[in-house]
């Protein structure tokens, strides 16, 4: 097991390296640069800017310097567009926000999604099944950029219960709409995956054996069916968890949360190479890490898998 984990981590390093170099090169090929602005900047000013941010160096040198700073000092450099903030500052401000609403969304999506899926599977073809499937399809087809304004319309403009945007770590009223907007589509996917995999499990041999033994239905489901039925859900949850805790640009923009989802998209639009790289590396690392976690959980749940 330990050897397996170490092996996977070792593979992660070249993967990240490829990710960094590829995104670095792709970004630099995009037309325009971080200092292209509506007011055309005189050439001597542009030269000063390029010199300050090292953009006058050959590309290979820029990559090398960048990698050295990241590896040796854990320093992602200054932001190219936010002049008095470093990439570390921007991530430190935004990541806790997205982490909070992302994590809550994850919990909500898993709890509601699995419950809906299991209920639908057990009560197959009953009204409960139809209701659960109906809810999850509804949630799936309603994208969050449609959901967010509807939520604001209901909870802010009509009922005056929740603030229409903003963020506070102390006041849960700010969390509710972002969590609903972010979690619903994941919840729907989880419900559908759970339902179909539960149905499959319920018709498998070991469940039939359990039934034949005369075990109570409840015990069969909780003890024998749920664990194997959740395997496909778990492989979905790894990447879903990463994309949830790294936020959603729609949620960040619509609710002005100040999370990094918006910073990520803005950095691409602003050609803010440094912020773009910083968040890419963060995302890449988290993705690799949680894929590993998923594999470990797999081994723990499924006795057939051993590392």
């Amino acid at each position: 097991m330990i050897v397996y984990i170490l092996k996977r981590l070792a593979i992660a390093i070249p993967t990240l390296l490829v990710l960094i170099i590829a995104s670095f090169l792709l970004m630099h090929t995009a037309p325009g640069g971080p200092f292209t602005s509506e007011r055309a900047v005189p050439p001597e000013v542009l030269a000063n800017l390029n010199a300050k941010y090292g953009l006058d160096q050959p590309l290979w040198k820029q990559i090398a310097t960048y990698l050295w700073n990241v590896v040796a000092h854990f320093d992602f450099g200054p932001s190219f567009s936010y002049k008095d903030r470093s990439v570390n500052d921007i991530i430190a401000q935004g990541f806790p926000v997205t982490l909070t609403y992302g994590f809550l969304s994850f919990i909500a999506a898993v709890l509601v999604g699995v419950t809906l899926g299991v209920t639908a599977a057990i009560k197959r073809n009953s009204w409960l099944d139809y209701l659960a499937v109906g809810i999850s399809i509804g949630a799936q087809v309603l994208p969050n950029f449609v959901m967010a304004p509807i939520l604001v319309l209901i909870f802010t403009l009509s009922l005056h219960w929740l603030p229409g945007g903003g963020w506070s770590f102390d006041d849960p009223r700010f969390w509710i709409m972002p969590v609903i907007a972010l979690s619903t589509s994941y919840m729907a996917s989880i419900a559908r995956i759970t339902r179909s995999s539960m149905l499959e499990t319920l018709s498998s041999n070991h469940i039939r054996t359990a039934r034949a033994k005369g075990l109570p239905k409840r015990k069969i489901i909780m003890r024998h069916a749920l664990k194997p039925a959740l395997l496909p859900v778990i492989s979905y949850l790894g990447p879903a968890f990463v994309s949830m805790i790294t936020g959603s640009v729609i949620v960040d923009v619509y609710f002005t949360t100040g999370g990094i989802g918006k910073s990520f998209v803005d950095s691409a639009l602003n050609r803010d190479y440094a912020v773009m790289m910083g968040i890419t590396i963060l995302l890449g690392t988290l993705t690799i890490l949680f894929n590993l976690v998923v594999d470990i959980v797999y081994g723990w749940i499924d006795p057939k898998i051993r590392y």
């Binding site: 037309p31 640069g33 292209t36 602005s37 007011r39 000063n48 999370g259």
Partner: protein, 539 residues
């Protein structure tokens, strides 16, 4: 101890229930003020910096002028009023200005000195600062600014000197009549040398930032909010009524409107086309004051532009064919005005020339356009094909489609090309790779040269690469003229005759402003507002 706390809490409650405390001299007597003096302001884009020497945006200027005081400010009508510069003298050749500064303190208690200006201006020009707005000090004609920016001279050679703590002397390379008008912009604000040197780029963090204006920084969360709170060390703090300012960045107008309607914003720009409906719904809150920016279509007459546009008849025909009234009345609907000059009509002292096509009916313009195009050799058997370039935005698209239709009536076939912002800028200013491009210009200061300088052959902003010796000469002469306005009028006349660009509309700022907020300067054409002059009345 507990009882003291209880008493003071009680006193506070009393205070907030009935704010009959000493009122600012800016609030008319008998006004009942709101208990909560917070002004929440919408901005389209998040600020990129709070450093006056690095700031480049109008929104940045709006925030910074609450936190800093430079030499001058504008009053409610856009007229110059002294801020730190209580008086000044100018030499006979108009090249040396001596400003006398008021005794003021930074929020950390240090005195504000002439040296703080010297430091700030040198820093603005210094290549090591790499400010994207360093060209502004060159535009101000401060001596040696060009060479300092280019790295050919040391920042210490810049034409700015502290004669003593409260006397600042500025030397110019060449006299410009509007020099003092330029000193309103945040790029010319002083910065606290000690603090900047101690913290480097971290000096604008809330825990470090030191200011000399009526408000200081409380927090800045990117993508969420910038919060300012009253600076009690400000010399005129007794006359500052609004206690808190919040700036919320939101790209989407419609969403900002929702937040306004939820009572979470006091100010919002109305989405395009929605002003008439909102005016009906919120008659007390809806305003559309003129705003000093102009929207235009620029023709590429440079080497990368199409051959056809090098012919003035074609350019004139294209400009005449644009029905500006339809664009203003049917598409934008927010108090904008048709533009036939590049300078905004409301610019201080600006006198527009008699531009023939401005007074024609659209039918006359259209007939003239057809005639001109025919003379230029274009018609059904030799059709003109053009590309219209704009940056991705629903509003630009609407206008481009309208223009496409107007030109179709001329027999001109145009294709629309929209690009993401940075790509568009690169094509416009970098590659000059376009036929006709949407552009806009906003005044840096309230004087016509801020517009007209753009079209000089040496301007970096002249994206269509138009060159006209007479125009260049006029603009050069205007810098030393006793009254430059005459030159400006003549320059506009040349623009109308040579048509390097087709002005389309003069901006307004259609907005909703919470009617409880008083003192907003609607008559200031740059809409430079100072929160210290504003207050919030009770409902």
């Amino acid at each position: 101890m507990k009882s003291i706390a209880a008493i003071s809490a009680f006193a506070l409650m009393l205070g907030s229930a009935a704010p009959v405390l000493a009122q600012s001299s800016k609030v008319p007597e008998g006004t009942k003020l709101a208990a909560d003096q917070t002004f929440t302001y919408w901005m389209q884009d998040d600020l990129k910096t709070l450093d006056p020497d690095l700031s480049t945006s109008k929104d940045g200027n709006d925030v910074l002028q609450q936190m800093f005081e430079g030499l001058y400010q504008q009053d409610d009508h856009g007229k110059l009023v002294p801020a730190l510069a209580t008086s000044y003298e100018v030499s006979d050749d108009k090249k040396t200005y001596t400003f006398h500064l008021r005794n003021e303190k930074w929020s950390n208690g240090d005195p504000v000195t002439a040296q703080d200006f010297v430091y700030a201006w040198r820093r603005l020009a210094d290549p090591a600062t790499a400010s994207q707005y360093s060209w502004y000090i060159e535009l101000m004609q401060v001596k040696n600014a060009h060479d300092v920016i280019a790295g050919d001279k040391k920042p210490s050679e810049l034409g700015v000197k502290a004669l003593d703590d409260h006397t600042l002397q500025v030397t110019l390379d060449s006299a410009i009549p509007y020099f003092r008008q330029m000193l309103v912009l945040s790029s010319t604000f002083p910065v606290p040398q000690k603090v900047v040197e101690e913290y480097g780029s971290d000096w604008t963090k809330p825990e470090n930032m030191v200011v000399n204006g009526p408000y200081k920084l409380k927090s800045w969360k990117i993508g969420n909010s910038i919060e300012l709170t009253k600076n009690d060390a400000y010399y005129d703090a007794a006359n500052v009524t609004l206690t808190d300012l919040k700036f919320i960045p939101m790209q989407d107008n419609d969403q900002a409107l929702t937040r306004y309607e939820a009572g979470e914003l006091d100010f919002v720009q109305t989405p395009a086309g929605q002003y008439p409906r909102l005016k009906k719904e919120y008659p007390d809150a809806a305003h559309a004051p003129p705003r000093s920016c102009v929207y235009a279509y620029r023709f590429n007459v440079g080497p990368n532009g199409p051959e056809a546009l090098k012919d003035v008849k074609v350019r004139k025909a294209l400009s005449y064919a644009i029905n500006r009234d339809i664009i203003v009345d049917k598409i934008l609907k927010g108090g904008q005005k048709p533009a036939y000059t590049w300078t905004h009509w409301a610019t201080a002292n600006f006198k527009a020339p008699d531009v023939a096509y401005a007074d024609m009916t659209q039918q006359e313009r259209m007939d003239k356009a057809k005639e001109l195009l025919k003379e230029a050799g274009y018609g059904p058997d030799h059709p003109l094909n053009l590309r219209i370039m704009y940056n991705t935005s629903a509003d630009h698209k609407k206008i481009a489609i309208a223009v496409q239709q107007f030109w179709k009536q001329l027999g001109v076939k145009s294709t629309l090309e929209n690009y993401e912002w940075k790509v568009y800028l690169d094509k416009l200013n970098g590659q000059h790779d376009f036929d006709v491009a949407r552009t806009a210009w906003c005044a840096d200061y309230n004087e016509a040269s801020t517009y007209l300088d753009v079209n000089t052959s040496w301007s970096d902003q002249n994206s269509g690469q138009w060159k006209n010796a007479d125009y260049d000469k006029l603009m050069k002469d205007s810098k030393t003229a006793a009254d430059p306005q005459e030159d400006y009028t003549k320059a506009e006349k040349i623009l109308a005759e040579d048509m390097p660009l087709a002005p389309i509309y003069a901006y307004s700022l259609p907005m909703l402003l919470n009617p409880q907020i008083k003192g907003y300067p609607f008559d200031n054409v740059q809409l430079n507002w100072y929160a210290k002059n504003m207050y919030k009345v009770a409902k």
